[in-house]
């Protein structure tokens, strides 16, 4: 038994991404039409009827394939709605890739959407089945769950609370600075470090600027067999690895787990690197789009994805290693921090940045000669989560 992957078998030939934000004027249907229209317009050699099957990722903006087929007027095509918490968009992409790689379909579309701002509440809403009322998730919001990383990380590595605060602030400052150059981001202004430090508290030591925004958005991708990719796009984006891990929830029950790492991320990264034949994750990537739902998450992810050593990330963050002009730019598009996190859309939004970068279409954010990118989604919370890692490249192989 092994995770063999589908390296080099499929490629993305078109993408679309809506503007993210508090889209009071747009429904989930409108956001889907916005992303899909951009996508179809960019690939003149394909029209709607050429797409053989669809996968739609959404957490809470609709049920079943009808959520996509009705607004797009798709008739008589297979449309599958998938949900894997915050990795829902990536999960749609993964399934669409596998469908094409299997030979079942010639052309598939992966779509993600989330309309969060109609609820009237702050943050994400949970949709739990009826239960006994004892689950910790019921009384602990996501920022609180991820804020648990901060004191645990400080205690384990002997990091002074102020040093950790500085590192968290740097993550928020960096991602907002990146997002300021992105016309599709929810927040398009740089934020001063002092403002970040002094923001009202949300949970633990996390202030408002340590948390990703809450926004509406949609994004999509068209996937074809790699050998046909150049028929449709001059610069396709090749899929080299797709890995998904759902944890057993052991960490939430195991005193051996110390809340300074996501074992699910470590395992999915290892799997993805093996699929893609990546030996050294520190040097393999031109950029990485990671799940910066909260600032300490990004700090811990740098270690779990193998971009630095355990206990070292906070120093590398402060040294600027992951800034747009650092050794490995992290979230050059602005990340969840600048885009907000319309759950189903985020995974595809990350791939959209890699797509733009490879094609030289990233505007002020353009990196010099990018060739390989990693995207990462995390759903759940420390101790009990799902993790998705993809590796995509400008070339089919190394």
């Amino acid at each position: 038994m092994a995770s063999k992957g589908i390296a080099g078998k499929v490629a993305v030939v078109a993408m679309g991404c809506s503007r993210f934000g508090e889209r009071w004027d747009s429904s989930a249907d409108d956001l889907l039409v916005e992303a899909v229209t951009e996508c179809m317009t960019s690939v003149p050699k394909l029209d709607r009827d050429d797409i053989d099957a669809y996968w739609l990722g959404t957490l809470s903006s609709g049920m079943s394939g009808l959520t996509l087929s009705r607004p797009l007027g798709i008739g008589d095509k297979p449309v599958t709605r998938v949900e894997n918490m915050c990795a829902s968009g990536s999960e749609a992409f993964r399934n669409a890739c596998y469908a094409v790689a299997s030979g079942a379909y010639d052309v598939a579309m992966a779509v993600g959407v989330e309309k969060l701002k109609d609820s009237g509440f702050s943050g994400l809403l949970r949709q739990d089945p009826p239960g006994d009322g004892t689950a910790a998730e019921l009384s602990m919001t996501a920022p609180a769950a991820f804020s648990l990383l901060d004191p645990a990380y400080c205690a384990k590595y002997g990091v002074h609370a102020e040093q950790m605060r500085d590192a968290m602030t740097h993550v928020a400052w960096k991602n907002h600075a990146n997002g300021a150059h992105n016309p599709k981001a929810q927040f398009r202004s740089p934020v001063a470090k002092e403002t970040i430090d002094k923001a009202p508290k949300v949970a633990g030591r996390l202030g408002v600027f340590d948390c990703s925004g809450v926004s509406d958005g949609a994004a999509c991708a068209i996937i074809v067999p790699a050998e046909h990719a150049r028929d449709y796009a001059e610069t396709p984006m090749y899929v080299r690895a797709l890995s998904l891990v759902a944890g057993s929830g052991r960490g939430a029950m195991d005193p051996g787990y110390d809340y300074t790492s996501f074992p699910e991320v470590v395992r999915s990264a290892r799997d993805a690197y093996q699929q893609a034949g990546i030996d050294d994750p520190r040097t393999a990537f031109s950029l990485a789009e990671v799940h910066d739902c909260f600032t300490p998450t990004e700090i811990v992810l740098m270690e779990d994805l193998g971009f630095t050593d355990p206990g070292q990330s906070w120093k590398d963050v402060l040294a600027g290693d992951f800034d747009a002009d650092g050794r490995l730019p992290i979230n050059p598009d602005g990340g969840l921090k600048s885009f907000g996190h319309p759950v189903g859309a985020s995974g595809l939004r990350m791939l959209y940045e890699a797509w733009l970068q490879f094609r030289g279409e990233a505007g002020q954010r353009q990196l010099p000669d990018p060739h390989t990118a990693l995207t990462h989604n995390l759903g759940g919370r420390p101790g009990s989560c799902v993790s998705f890692v993809s590796v995509v490249g400008r070339e089919a192989g190394r």
Partner: protein, 452 residues
């Protein structure tokens, strides 16, 4: 009648400052937002070593959490009592507390009473009441710490204190009317019970009454050789007499008599004589120690706890009501805080699981009760966003001594005192209420300063 074998009181941690409610000095003991008569009954009972072997449970309160549903069953489940143990409510007044005592003395079993006394802002009830619980265990194994010598009961119908069933605050007639009626009833009850016992008087007298005129005159109404005590926290409803009795059991010597007088719509009397077993079987923390100290709560916050004012909530949805069948399936966990330990590898699952997360073994689990154990904080946070009847919510990941981990809220929280490595115990609380369903579960409670 069976003998008394154990006792314990529970006073909540919070205090209303006297200056906020018109007291010249001192403060008032108040239950936290997540406490009710049921949770305080659990807290009091859990401190009696033999409580989990009780053959019957009689629960008295004037502030039941539910009507049409027995509240004693939640206490029964939280204590892990066997299915064949009777558990019933005695609801209504301070008289119900004495009835529970009498029932337990007759059949053996646990008499536990608890109350949350609420007064209108500025009222005497707000000033002079107190919230708490008390438990007394009769019969069963173990030596008696006191024997019941005699009892007497006098009943009288008159209007001194009353409360509409739909109201959280009560009313009282002109106090002097009740004082006069009660004084006569008390004298008559004392005469009768001493006559039955053939004794001229008692060493200690416990006199409790919802009429504060009686409480003020207690020492002149009845003579005690050693002491005359009233409720240690002010009028505390159904647990008034039991709580005062606990405070005397904290200090009485072996071989002394204690006359308990509960004057509520009549007067009930119980005369006890302590044994040589008492000095070694006192409760772990005397009433005086529980009464001292405490955490201040702002008056406005307190009023919101009792539903007398409504504060702006966080912009988050209120929780769904807990599911009856789901709660029913998980009773040992939800009410008893019991997990499962893998027989193959020892991994502890909180909540219990059928498939081991350590080794994958299926259905090879033993029950592991955690409620009485202690734990250590692995990491913690304060959640300013989460819905709570009293935000912010303080939460901790707790590693249980001897194995296991779970994440829970921290009760009576002082966030600034919590750090990685802090030690905690567990306390049964009401997390929230939705659809008139109380969501009971356990929280961690930081060790007091006395524990370092």
């Amino acid at each position: 009648m069976t003998g008394l074998v154990g006792y314990a009181s529970y006073l909540p941690r919070y205090r209303l400052a006297g200056v906020d409610i018109g007291l010249r000095r001192g403060d008032r003991v108040v239950a936290a937002f997540d406490e009710d008569s049921t949770t305080m009954a659990v807290a009091a009972s859990a401190d009696i070593p033999g409580a989990r072997t009780a053959n019957a449970l009689y629960f008295a309160t004037s502030t039941p959490a539910y009507a049409d549903k027995t509240n004693a069953t939640a206490i029964h489940a939280a204590l892990g009592l066997p299915a064949d143990c009777l558990a019933v409510d005695f609801c209504g007044s301070g008289r119900s507390g004495f009835a529970a005592l009498l029932a337990a003395a007759n059949t053996g079993g646990l008499a536990v009473s608890a109350d949350v006394r609420v007064g209108r802002p500025g009222s005497a009830d707000e000033k002079l009441g107190g919230d708490g619980g008390a438990a007394l265990l009769f019969g069963g194994a173990g030596p008696a710490i006191a024997e019941v010598i005699a009892t007497a009961s006098l009943t009288a119908e008159f209007l001194d204190r009353w409360r509409a069933t739909t109201s959280v605050t009560g009313e009282q007639w002109e106090e002097r009317f009740g004082t006069e009626r009660y004084a006569a009833l008390i004298r008559a009850a004392v005469e009768r019970v001493l006559d039955t016992a053939g004794l001229p008087g008692a060493d200690h007298v416990v006199l409790t009454c919802p009429n504060s005129g009686i409480v003020k005159r207690a020492a002149t109404l009845v003579k005690g050789e050693k002491s005359v005590v009233t409720s240690p926290i002010g009028f505390s409803g159904a647990c008034d007499a039991a709580l005062a009795l606990c405070s005397v059991l904290d200090i009485a010597d072996a071989g002394q008599t204690i006359l308990v007088l509960s004057a509520v719509d009549g007067c009930d009397a119980m005369l006890l004589r302590t044994t040589t077993a008492l000095p070694k079987a006192r409760q772990p923390r005397p009433v005086t120690a529980q009464r001292a100290g405490g955490l201040p709560v702002a008056h406005l916050t307190y009023l919101s706890w009792r539903g007398l004012v409504e504060l702006e909530p966080p912009r988050r949805p209120e929780p769904d009501r807990a599911s009856g069948p789901a709660a029913g399936r998980s009773t040992p966990w939800k009410f008893g805080l019991s997990g499962s330990r893998c027989d193959a590898c020892g991994f502890v699952h909180l909540p219990p699981a059928r498939v081991c997360k350590g080794c994958g073994a299926t259905d090879r689990m033993s029950v592991i009760p955690v409620a009485g154990l202690r734990g250590t904080v692995a990491t913690h946070t304060v959640d300013y966003l989460a819905y709570s009847p009293s935000p912010p919510v303080v939460q901790a990941v707790v590693d249980v001594t001897g194995g296991g981990r779970f994440t829970c809220e921290v009760a009576d929280a002082e966030p600034e005192r919590i750090h990685v490595g802090s030690t905690v115990g567990f306390t049964f609380r009401r997390l929230s209420t939705a659809g008139h369903v109380h969501n009971y579960f356990w929280k961690a409670r930081l060790d007091g300063k006395r524990d370092g």
